[in-house]
Amino acid sequence: MKMHRFEEIWLVLAAGVIILSMVVTGYQTFALGMGPPSNKETIDPQKVDETAPFDEPGVYQIGENEYEVVMTLQIFSFNPGDIEIPAGSTVHFTMTSKDVVHGFQVAGTNLNAMVMPGHIQKITQKFDKPGEYLVLCNEYCGSGHQLMSTTITVK
């Protein structure tokens, strides 16, 4: 099968750009730990309230400028809500759903994770800039989906 000379050049360039994208994406994911949230722990979705750590959802300080937020998502709320943390903190979110699939998204950050019943999801973010951040559910979860929101206040 013969190919036009220009088409060969075009496809070689295209393949080059794509391979470069693969390498950059792979490097960021595996060497820099920037991959999307993919935690693999599971939980019985019927027994979230009785299973640690979700029997006591809340904000816990676990180090200097380091916090863990243990959070349950359920129609149509985040527990705990109205979270307050000092500026410069690194926050580790540990989340699960008590009913259907929800999304955890914080506008103005890269925090964006699916939270599914039966699975424990984890995602981390450092909050440098003070302000009030909007947390919302970005996966359709029922008629009150658009009301499911809370805030993280960074002081």
Binding site: M1, M3, I18, L134
Partner: protein, 549 residues
Amino acid sequence: MMKAIRSIHAPDAKLTMAHMYVAFAALFVGASMGLLQTLERSGKFTLPFGIGYYQILTVHGVVLGLVLTTFFILGFMVAVQSKTAGKYTSGERKWGWAGFWMMTTGVITTTIFILLNEASVLYTFYAPLMAHPGFYIGLTLVIVGSWLEGFVIFRRHARWRKENPGERTPLLSFMAVITMLMWLIATIGVAATVLLQFIPWSLGLVDSIDVLVSRTLFWYFGHPLVYFWLLPAYMAWYAIIPKIVGGKIFSDSLARLSFILLLLFSIPVGFHHQLTEPGIDPFWKYMQVILTFLVVIPSLMTAFSLFATFEARGRELGGKGLFGWVKKMPWKDVRFLAPFIGMLWFIPGGAGGIINASNQMNQVIHNTIWVTGHFHLTAATSVILTFFGIAYWLVPSVTGRKLTAKMNRLGIIQTIVWSVGMAIMSGAMHWQGLLGGPRRSAYSEYLGNADTAAWGPYQLAQAVGGSILFIGMIIMLIIFVNLAFFAPKGEEEFPIAEVSEDAGETPKVFENWKLWIGVTVALILFAYTIPFIDIIQNAPPGSKGFRLW
């Protein structure tokens, strides 16, 4: 008065037109819902009669994503195969009708349950939201019906090969086979989740459902679904548009090669819709990201071939200089203009798709309205404008009528209206998504803070764009009804391009179906076996059903 001359065998033409009627009825229903959604999300309008936002969103997704596309595509493929490989036998046609009626029954069943508010689960029907079993049973009928028609297309192609031993098969028939093969392999995933998980669970035969397994099977189907929409547009771009501009197909073998590559790389990539999900191994997410990137190659091959065809033709007509050929294109012929504008929209559409698939970058836009903006460029503009571009000649051509100058002019207006409406709506969706605005959400001021307030103007812009698109849809329906029932009788060209003399021989290996099916299956097994076993072995206790609307 002119005599009506159909371009294909009359009974085949009737089968094609039956599909078109359903497709354009779906366009009317679905686009009307789209208008209501953009108005609701502007915050200036409340849906009447207590109709829920998510109910009309479910209608919009099912009717446009599954019904309009599948019916149009099958009708189109029946016509091009009948034209290029020859008419169907009466037995083949009977199976085609059986498929059509099965699909139509399925559509009606599913629609009834959505309208009864028993199935506001959106077209992705993610568990553990649980719809009425009738919703799932209706969808199953649509899928199985499309399989019957797929087998008719396979059989017709095989019969042509038997009748013409050793010869190169008609390009469009070959492409139809690839498209239906991909559809068949992909729909096995959604059929498996619906038949083995959703139907028994919604009937109460089992108590719980494995959510991650159902989502994985859905997206095994969900990504090739979008290529199933795209491939028929590529068929027109490769093998029909060159004829409309008066040129030839740049290369038969490159066209076939790009279709084979699309078959190989469009299925083992479903994880790129699940990148932010727990429970899937990050290594296998990344492997599927790599496979997703490979689909770029056949798309760029396509872009090259198309512009090579246009440039070659423009120069033949005397176009001088680097871009002189552009002026020689038939801009006033809607059969060219509509799909060409569709191609242009595929440039930003495709680029956005690469962003979405780029593993960690997905976190920036996942489930934001950016994604909605993305597929309204690719599916609802590139593909749909091409489908409209096909309908302008296909409908009169198979019904024995003429595309009049007046309808041609109206078609040009339609193309412009659609492009303007979509530029406004999709552009606003992309920006709002980057600011964090979620998709698939009714109007909400959330907690009334600055983030949400910043979204307001974009939501208004979406309502403006949506209203313009609604006008575009009405214009399209006027043209369709005119071409199907009122246009003057006569003979309209069914454009099929020939292969350029400069193009080389087509290698025989392209018609080696055992090989290509084998490689496709091998790639799917590579991409899915290990992570899928992992998902099943480490599965949590299942979820019971929820009806939350």
